[in-house]
Symmetry: D2
Subunit: 509 residues, 4 copies
């Protein structure tokens, strides 16, 4: 069995070189600023080791048949996709939000699919190399993140057109035993507490951008990797600790300051194989696609957590029975259900790819992710509405324990008598954390942008949705066309984009 423990994982972190930059210092991975992220990753290890949850949190490696953490598994069936969604939702319920480790599994899956397709088309050996790397990750149950979002410089310009060519991560030198890369990735969650950072392109690349068609994986403390950290934490509590107060993360701008990547860790290199350039966008989209499918699990849970907190605080406030309260909670539940159904139905429509992976439907996955992104601020609004102004004006925790004031604030905090003063305090303290807190502010922003903002999902949907068969319905109805073939939207995946792109390239040769 290849399921790691939190202790193993944590010990690996403690041995890493100090390449984290925080508040002006260069630090190792032992500080309390990491506690929030460690708490979350601990759940991912603990639940995989808990027999009660192994049905969803573990899988069987297709490489060697061993039982492994699902976070290191590539999906070999529809059932795998459904279970990945369930695992994500399950863990998100337990940490009240993002489970953080999904980036890794999504990047591994994208690489598995794309390296196979590249090799088949170009005769390269990336997939073999990747499978070795995957076996290594599975055997140690390593934790990954994925560094995808380039800093991008001037928005309207392509990577090769930027005045500063480093605004997208690129190869600056090719050596016999590897490459030197330079650039930076932002919004790079968890970088200080993962074992490995997987780097993928963030967009389509053209012929002039061979140096930008690059993908690789590195240990997070590798020479030249500089992690500019931003911890996200709830204020430390002295008395009222609870899961909601322990959760946190660390965001990062991860800088690749002329970093050497050895050959066995390179999964795409446009300077070595110019043919792979056209696969850069495919890889970018494939990661985004698996990641958005993960979002149909986590965003469901995020909405359910908000609905749960809304229902609980409404109860504490004694307003559960009012119609408008029920309607508002029902609205959040409806979104959660629809987003989850989108992910499930995407999985049921998944197709097998040449490498043996199963890839869910892209239109529906994007439609689900988009709904979640559009609704997230509204859901916080509903929570604020039902929680009331006290969530923004609760006396500090100490006031509830200082003998001079404890009785008074308890007396004036209690509402529905079904909840004790301490329970009411706990709920409002959680509301303060949820609604008025840097970590949760970041979660709202992540709710919009994580995996791509709603406008990106719209663009993806409309790039992949074939409007012609749809328009045929209207042409039939108004009599332009005499017949209407059965309208059956084919499963859409990034591969369709790739085929379209290749065709365009051939036509324009």
């Amino acid at each position: 069995m290849a399921i790691g423990t939190y202790e193993q994982y944590h010990n690996r972190l403690l041995k890493m070189k100090p390449n984290v930059y925080l508040d002006g210092n260069q630090v190792d991975r032992s500080g309390p600023w990491m506690r929030g992220g460690l708490y979350v990753f601990k759940q991912t290890y603990d639940y995989a080791n808990d027999p009660k949850y192994q049905d969803v949190c573990t899988a069987t490696s297709h490489l060697n048949g061993e039982k492994i953490s699902r976070f290191n598994h590539t999906h070999r069936s529809i059932d795998d996709l459904l279970k990945k969604q369930l695992m994500t939702r399950l863990l998100c319920h337990r940490v009240g939000g993002c489970t953080q480790r999904c980036m890794g599994v999504d990047a591994l899956n994208a690489l598995s699919v794309v390296t196979f397709d590249i090799d088949k088309a170009l005769g390269t050996k990336y997939n073999e190399r990747f499978n070795k790397y995957l076996a290594y990750c599975q055997s140690l149950d390593l934790a990954h993140n994925c560094a995808q979002t380039d800093v991008k410089g001037i928005r309207g310009l392509r990577p090769s057109e930027q005045p500063d060519p480093d605004q997208y991560v690129r190869i600056v030198e090719v050596k016999p035993d590897g490459i030197i890369v330079r650039g930076a990735k932002v919004c790079n969650s968890c970088a200080p507490y993962v074992d490995e950072i997987i780097v993928t392109p963030s967009r389509l690349m053209g012929a002039k951008e061979a140096a930008y068609a690059v993908a690789f994986a590195l240990p997070a403390d590798w020479d030249g990797v500089k992690i500019m950290a931003l911890p996200g934490l709830h204020p430390r509590r002295k008395k009222l600790t609870s899961p909601a107060s322990e959760v946190g993360d660390v965001e990062s701008m991860t800088i690749f300051d002329d970093v050497f990547v050895p050959n066995d860790r390179i999964f795409m290199n446009g300077l070595e194989n110019p043919g792979v350039v056209q696969y850069a966008g495919y890889l970018a989209l494939m990661f985004a696609h698996f990641h958005r499918h993960s979002y149909t699990g986590c965003k469901t849970a995020v909405s359910e957590v908000i609905a749960a907190e809304a229902a609980l605080v409404a109860d504490v406030n004694g307003i559960s029975k009012y119609d408008h309260v029920k309607e508002k909670i029902s609205h959040i539940i409806g979104t959660a259900e629809l987003v989850f159904a989108a992910g499930q139905a995407s999985a049921y429509r998944a197709i097998e790819f040449p490498n043996g992976s199963w890839v869910p439907d892209e239109i529906l996955t994007n439609a689900g992710r988009r709904l979640a992104g559009e609704e997230i601020y509204n859901e916080y609004k509903i929570l604020a509405d039902l929680a009331g102004g006290i969530s923004a004006s609760l006396p500090t925790e100490e006031s509830y324990y200082d003998p001079k004031t404890a009785n008074l604030v308890a007396k004036y905090t209690t509402r529905n008598p079904a909840y004790t003063a301490e329970q009411a305090h706990r709920v409002f303290r959680m509301m303060e954390n949820k609604l008025c807190d840097p970590f949760e502010g970041c979660q709202m922003v992540a709710g919009v942008h994580g995996g791509g903002s709603p406008i990106m999902e719209t663009i993806t949907m409309m790039s992949r949705y074939d409007l012609e068969p749809l328009k045929d319905i209207a042409k039939y109805l108004c009599g332009i066309n005499p017949d209407l073939p059965r309208f059956e939207r084919a499963t859409a995946t990034p591969r369709a984009m790739l085929e379209k792109f290749k065709k365009i390239q051939q036509q324009t040769k």
Copy 2:
């Protein structure tokens, strides 16, 4: 094989007694006011007879193994539910909206489930009776509608509290060979062109409402059944006929003016079996539930048709490439995808009921139906937006053929040169029909109310959704509860409501 033809069906209609009341006359079923509805029902027969579509439009009777129209089938598997959804969507694409015949299949399914449960609990023989009736319907491929919505009188009062006791259909006399019923059902689509009208209660009934706990089926021209008709038609076209212009329906207030129902057509009788009173609401909800699941097929198609027409008219207007246009079309497509996914995932989560029927998940079905209902007017708004004001000011059809004006109006109607003048005319004519037409106005209203308005879905969802396990997530996160059991929302169905209701009754005895 027991698949009927349109001719057989139409001949049956022509032989019916004239019990339709229209514009002050009592008429038979041969008039042109019926053409719209007949056109739609014709499709339901034709596609079931077309080998290309029999995979979804036909099924295998569980009564005798014969191939039958799916409209007379009770769902015996998840696959049946998925195919019913597909059939509904397929036919709706072809008529540009409601396929109209789903009421029948939904009522048959509800009766199949509920009569079985009643018999098991009370030792009655309703299910046996129903199965004979079902076999009869299957053998002739009869078309049904369902008369559910009572006129309801004063909204705040229960049926038994109304000053006029006839505001809900009720039994006014029990005879040895049957019952006499009185009352009226509104919003009773298709009554003049179905073979049979199935009558079910529209709400929960209490002990004082035994006379209202009644369900039965009757031929549509039965003595005492008075159909107050309202035809819905597009204006007749002289030149530019097309499917969109042929479609129509007839709405009805169907009055039961002291109608005798023979025993073999009664499927619930609260005066004979007081125990069934508590099943009245169960039947009402079960019909609504199957019907809302059908809506996940038809509302998907309704949105897709609007998206198709929006995409086509945007093309004719030459504005397809603009971002805001794509974004608007994408919004409609997203709704269609999510509603369809809701129905599909509901089917995948279906459970088998004691009678052998499969019943989809209610929360998700309602969430899907609600989204469709909330969006429908917005979708028409988007269509109006992209079609432009010309949809409300197009010269009459004759102007396009009158030699004095034909060239001029053609010249000034053409836009994108990829479409001929006639094609542009066809498209705008369809836009006029879609946006400025009594039939489509009714379709918008039906989009809100058909199967229950969004507020009914909210009520259903919140009646069935168990908030306690959901609140447990929040209680765990804030530290009120130390553990969190796996949150797995059980499949919710009207049966859960029935069990809850029975428990309440027993406790209050």
Copy 3:
């Protein structure tokens, strides 16, 4: 006193030449297809003659000090603007929607302002000519519409780039005594029942589009003017007549089939005075601006009428007391109040133009109009929601009078006993007309597009709103700028666009 009567107006119509094309016939203005529009225009004359309403419906001519209909007045003060808004709202309440005659007053006001500015800049005599024309219109209390919306051909191309140069109305020949014009205007409401049609450009014109920079006025039956009509009517009622059932209109595609315009009726001619080309867009925007300000009166009334009908039907249905019902009605009322306030505050911020006219604020006027346009379909949705499905399935009027059925349908239509059967019937009949009727379908489309669709208002707002002073607030707050001047958004008007446009032209010379 120069206030006309309906009889005078109607007699003028009856004398007109038959240049209306309807259903393949060329007809005069005596047919019943005009009754809806005549009913509405009758109100505009009657209320101006009713002393109780002359405070808002009449004004004092600045040309000769006579009391005139406000529909022929150019606004000489803030008070005039406020009263124009009030008059529009007042009349719209009485016809349950669009008062139809506002196009005329808005076009007259736009011409008054723009011709003055042109003359001042170019030394032409358009304003003198226009004032004579205005005096003539005031003396006879003529009714106008405005033909602005060109058919536009291929959307992406400018007028001069179209393969067919006639897709925008243009001058095809200049003669000593006038010009010959060709082209067509769509969405040209009321053309068959106005005295005069005023033609203005629909967009900015460039140097190559001198022939398109043209404005003029003609009697509606002038030679070569061909009115392709589309009547909008409620179905004729036999018993239950009421204002709501009398109202209607006629839409038109108005074709200028090589029409001669005499010099004294030309108010802009780009071939004669190339300098006016840059004023074409100014005139287009100035008409749109006055028209959108009128919309702050009529859209307020449109929303109030819907709210009124929603409140009444909720009462008939006996659901007035439910919170969700109140909330929905309150939402419509809130929109009405905000749109009206936008128009009022725009008037209070109005500025005097060189010709002595007062012009309201453009940003706010557009913000108000946009809100109304975005909400209109939603308001119909709310009405459909509260009215219930019966609005789409009400038995025909005759069923309520046919002795065979009258008692039955009355019995089953009555709900809240505070309303008689006939009153309930009246209300639901109005609901049918409102929700399921070609005329009202057109009103919904007009609610989106009339005066410019929401996207046009967004474009106008963002063209005129100076973002730099706004951004200064953010620059001050983040410390880029040390000081923050008082942020006072200047009143924005189409003139600002003109100045900007002129500056650009001079710079690029």
Copy 4:
């Protein structure tokens, strides 16, 4: 001249007794936790002393004709109301949000109106007492807050029905020289840094609630007043200070622990004058009304600040030119314009009250406030959307100055070259503060709840809006009523509620 300075104000605070409870300590008013609130109040003093801004920030006392701060003025004209709105907006622009001192002016205005009406009806002397108090406040330019929101205990129960009678502030003893009060007020912003706390009821009171009909003012450090504080601050910056980073506040639960109030500071006492009980709700509503009218100034500014930051960050990101970006900014601007117009038009419709005060229209004020409340989270969503994920993952400030990393993070933060690295850093730092910050989280909550959440505005609107004249429009249109009186909604104010309430009381006597 009676305009105070910040120094005078601050010196008064420093002399106060230490009755603030923070983090378990009882503290005075000299700590750094107050810096944010002091920064904001400083602006209110400085601008009143700056001749450039005295046109809006000062007023003329109606008591003695002296020039005073507008924050201590009662509005004696429409112009006063317009200027109060302008002052609020002006100051809010400068602090990037809430100006905090409006509670005082709103409470003073409410007391001025209500005490006059009470005295007139009951022959009491409250208004005389209040005017003395007002003169005192004006002479020293004191700063106030208003303690209105009771902790409320069990929501469904009235004050007199609560198991704990102290859940609403009440009189527990009447003495010859004053009263003893007990209870607590939450969401009591600024309590630690105002001179005076004004206490008003939070709801209608019934006959059994005479002890709850109480209003008074006390110095903020009065014996028994216990301020349970919650500071709201942005993280302290070391280098990049700017107004946005200085702003903050302190929220409070303010406990009245058996506090003696001397007679000359009591403005309503239900135990002394039972007749005033019916004025408790009037006072509550009058404060809410003036406060909501202030919100039409501040919420306008709040939206404008968000729009300003959105426009600036879009520019830094180089995406200003995209249509969807313009559309999103335009949406926020539209809301700001409509909310401001609502306040302005409410002022123009204001009426003079018996005491000489001018009171704006309540329906429109509430419609404006509600729109702002409904939109606030959406506006933050738009800002998050345009700012991008970097706002949630920006390296800490020190990384931009640490020589090891400064150049790298600067290189990878720069985007649009029109902005220097430091300017880009400043803008993103402000985005972090705006989107991911406890203080701003509280501002979002306050955006929903401050002055009453949207549902309270809906209730107020529907309580005051007379639906009968509105329904008359529909009754006329459908023919129930033959005539339609001119629909002119009267100005609605809390006084109308009072009259209605009195009438009901008399009828039920």
